[in-house]
Amino acid sequence: MRADHAYDHDESVPHTHPEPGVDPHPPLPQLDRAVRIGIGGPVGSGKTALVAALCRALAGELRLAVVTNDIYTTEDADFLKRAGVLDPSRIRAVETGCCPHTAIRDDISANLDAVEELEDALGPLDLVLVESGGDNLTATFSKGLVDQQIFVVDVAGGDKVPRKGGPGVTTADLLVINKTDLAPLVGADLAVMDRDARARRGTLPTIFQSIAQDPQASQVADWVRHVVAHAAGAHAHAHAGAH
């Protein structure tokens, strides 16, 4: 960690976690396929960096693949490959025809096809991350596409964002408030953001993070592990019950 950071991520950044044993989510349906987690949020909030961090943290333990609705260049693919994050064969880009919200919410066919193509090409997977194209605060994923969704906002977008609400902030299974290292530079009050997020989200969890300080996005990675284990458990349970 760089010494010149005014904020010490671990001690002074407020965050909420799913309480052990207290799960605010309804159980996931029985899955014969990979768990799909949507990652949405406004342009520039750090969705792609979060995807890269999760791949870095989880690629060694989970069979995973990524569908991106963002504008994805060969440079992006090369970067991920060089960083040892993910092989390009595990990434599919989906064109959204300038309608990023439509592709993840109203007409999810291209994304479903991309997920299925990855599963066909790579064999069984544990986790598929679906990254939305950069949109605004109203974009959410269809339940027909993903099992759980993460909404990413950043402190540089202003500390009023959680108060503004919108379906992403209010209903996402996990809210990530990103780039906390920038808070002192942009005059964002993290305590205010935490208070507003709690007010908007009730028991749904919120994580404050800085990928600059924590390149593996450890807390979000833990949340994802929990979701995947939970789905696998539900799956095993359902199968056991069938016998």
């Binding site: 504008i71 994805y72 260049t73 060969t74 989906v94 064109e95 959204t96 025809g97 300038c98 309608c99 439509t102 592709a103 109203d106 007409d107 999810i108 066919s109 291209a110 479903l112 096809d113 066909d120």
Partner: protein
């Protein structure tokens, strides 16, 4: 049949992946061939004269085969699978661009997914299997039959879709005035009806005899588009 089923299937909001396809308009815009409403009008006339007769005829012909099977449940699988395979091969031979073959099959796969969920039927399973999906006109032909529509309506939805896809893409890519674009579509309505009616009228012919109109730039620009590093539209 229900008129509302017809409207549902023709609606651009029907979730069959259409929003991600510009039918060559993105490439035409990038090449500077379409920059304004007049350019869009010329583009749409070309699509209507060249793409729509083929798409609509194959849609209506598939519909007739599917509807025949729907009326005669005793028909054996091969009664319907063989004509479907023939329609598939004939359309494949009319689609010389690999990028367009892929775009057609991907749109067909998306439509099949939506159709199966909206109007469940055994008919979908009779289409020839292909890893990228069935060609879009075949998927539309079966979906219209499953929805209880007529062959004329099937052709009309196909021709209408040929127009509205790129028109909607033009609004997004060029920021054209949406009222002017709707006015243009309304002015082309009569031509669209005629093309659809002509396609439905030949749908009973053997697949080999169905229209085979080719538009050189449709193939060429689809291939160029497929090489772009960044695309906003899938085709």
């Amino acid at each position: 049949m229900h008129r509302t089923a017809y409207l549902l299937l023709a609606d651009g909001r029907f979730p069959s992946g259409g929003h991600a396809h510009s039918s060559g308009l993105e490439a035409a815009v990038a090449a500077g061939r379409v920059t304004d409403l007049a350019g869009l009008e010329a583009f749409l006339h070309g699509r209507l004269s060249y793409a729509a007769p083929v798409t609509a005829a194959f849609t209506a012909a598939t519909h007739l085969t599917a509807a025949r099977m729907g009326r005669a449940p005793s028909a054996t699988e091969s009664d319907v699978k063989v004509p479907f395979l023939s329609l598939d091969r004939e359309l494949e031979a009319r689609t010389v661009s690999p990028a367009l073959r892929l775009a057609s099959r991907r749109q067909g796969r998306a439509l099949l997914r939506a159709g199966r969920n909206t109007w469940p039927s055994e008919l979908y399973g009779q289409l020839p299997k292909h890893p990228d999906g069935p060609h879009q006109p075949l998927a539309l032909g079966v979906t219209t039959a499953a929805a209880g529509l007529s062959a004329e309506e099937a052709a009309q939805i196909a021709a209408y879709g040929v127009l509205t896809g790129p028109a909607s893409a033009a609004v997004r890519l060029l920021g054209l005035d949406p009222y002017q674009v709707q006015n243009l579509l309304a002015r082309m309505a009569g031509s669209c009806d005629e093309i659809a009616a002509a396609a439905a009228a030949v749908a009973h012919k053997s697949p080999q005899e169905l229209p085979a109109h080719a538009a050189p730039l449709a193939d060429i620009s689809a291939e160029l588009h497929a090489t772009w590093e960044v695309r906003l539209f899938a085709s």
